[in-house]
Amino acid sequence: MQAEGLELWRGDRCLFRDLSFELPEEKALHVSGPNGCGKTSLLRVLCGLSEPEEGAVRWRGKSIRRDREDYHQAFAWLGHLNGFKAELSARENLAFSVSLRRKTDDEVRNNTLDQVGLTAAADLPCRVLSAGQKRRLSLATIMLSAARLWILDEPFTNLDSKGREMISELLNSHCASGGAAIVAAHQELGVEQPYLQHLKMEDAV
């Protein structure tokens, strides 16, 4: 994945200009910087949700605007919002999110729910889950997505120390198996050195 000369304005503020990086496989890119510096905006540009003013994002050498659906299949996105329906149970939400991407059977999904520690809460409607539990459910979606690239915006928010450790472990094994990740976070990712890459953003002008 490559980003070339990205530039984005929000109103009269230039969030970033001439921002470029390259992310090979087996790497996790840690995007850090003060609040309001445009981390989320950058991630949304990388996903293709926002249009940059200038520059282009390439995935395997092709601009992501060319082959949008192909690119979207290759990555999983975790934003500020989890994207779960309050009326559906954790199990139903997971089944829906995953089935948009690939076929899985109940057993695989139950195992994953177990892994993120949600077995007891699996049949509760998402309305009554805590913020941390919803975050864990999002992680389960990401794990089951079979995506090569993970784009995670502040995945650590609302998680307890065990949950944060779990993310670090997940990122390590994801990179070890040839995947890549872009993570915006204020804290260290806990990813092993060979996998780690940094992008420090400065305050907007």
Binding site: C47, L49, D70, L81, G83, E87, F96, S97, L100, R101
Partner: protein, 225 residues
């Protein structure tokens, strides 16, 4: 992913299931339809002769307004809980997914209007031989209303402007449906052949199904930016 329609069934099933978990919201458009229809005799007069003449216009106007009412929420909930961006990034063709959402919405809010129409028609003394034209017209007209409304809903999602703007955007575009639908019933009441306007409604529906999902998908992408 396999097939151009992949994801259609998944989204349709989810939205229908969601709708059935919120039965109150589901009943609203139908109640609104009944209410508007009931208001006119109160405002005009209970005289059968008069009501019979204005019934096609009232029924179609009420159908138009009540299908707009529920459209406000079509994308708003998904926008607010983040599932809209997940849909956009799911790797499926977005026009297909929004078509599924609109169809689910129509099944919940448009179809009940079609089924309830004869009941209200009889309350307005519309002769029984025009009921089938009324139902047929609504059956092929309300999906177009839902599609047009979905464009407006997608454009206004996330703006926080309320439903007044949505109506301003959609109502002028929906006038042909109203005209053809209501005049078709009029013709049937007079014992004339209503097949012309029905064909036109069908042609517009065909056009809407093939073109509007693209517009809705574009509008969804814009509102997420």
């Amino acid at each position: 992913m396999s097939g151009p329609m992949s994801g259609f069934g998944t989204v349709l099933a989810r939205d229908l299931r969601l709708a059935f978990r919120r039965p109150g919201e589901m009943a609203n458009p139908l109640l609104f339809f009944v209410l508007i229809t009931a208001i006119f005799p109160l405002g005009l007069s209970p005289e059968p002769e008069l009501l019979r003449t204005v019934a096609p216009g009232i029924l179609w106007g009420a159908a138009l307004l009540s299908s707009l009412l529920a459209l406000d929420l079509l994308f708003k909930n998904d926008y607010e809980d983040g599932s809209l961006e997940q849909l956009v990034l799911s790797g499926h063709s977005l026009p297909v997914l929004v078509l599924a959402k609109t169809l689910a919405h129509w099944v919940v809010s448009g179809l009940p209007l079609v089924l309830a129409a004869p009941l209200l028609a009889s309350a307005l003394y519309l002769p029984a031989h025009a009921w089938d034209t009324l139902m047929l017209g609504l059956l092929i007209g309300t999906p177009t209303l839902s599609l047009l409304g979905a464009v407006g809903a997608a454009l206004t999602t996330g703006l926080g402007t309320g439903s007044a703007l949505l109506s301003l955007l959609v109502l002028p575009l929906a006038t042909p449906i109203l005209i053809f639908g209501a005049r078709g019933v009029d013709l049937a009441v007079q014992g004339l052949d209503p097949v012309g306007p029905m064909y036109l409604l069908g042609a517009i529906l065909f056009l809407a199904v093939s073109l509007l999902p693209l517009a809705i998908a574009t509008a969804v992408r814009i509102s997420l930016d």
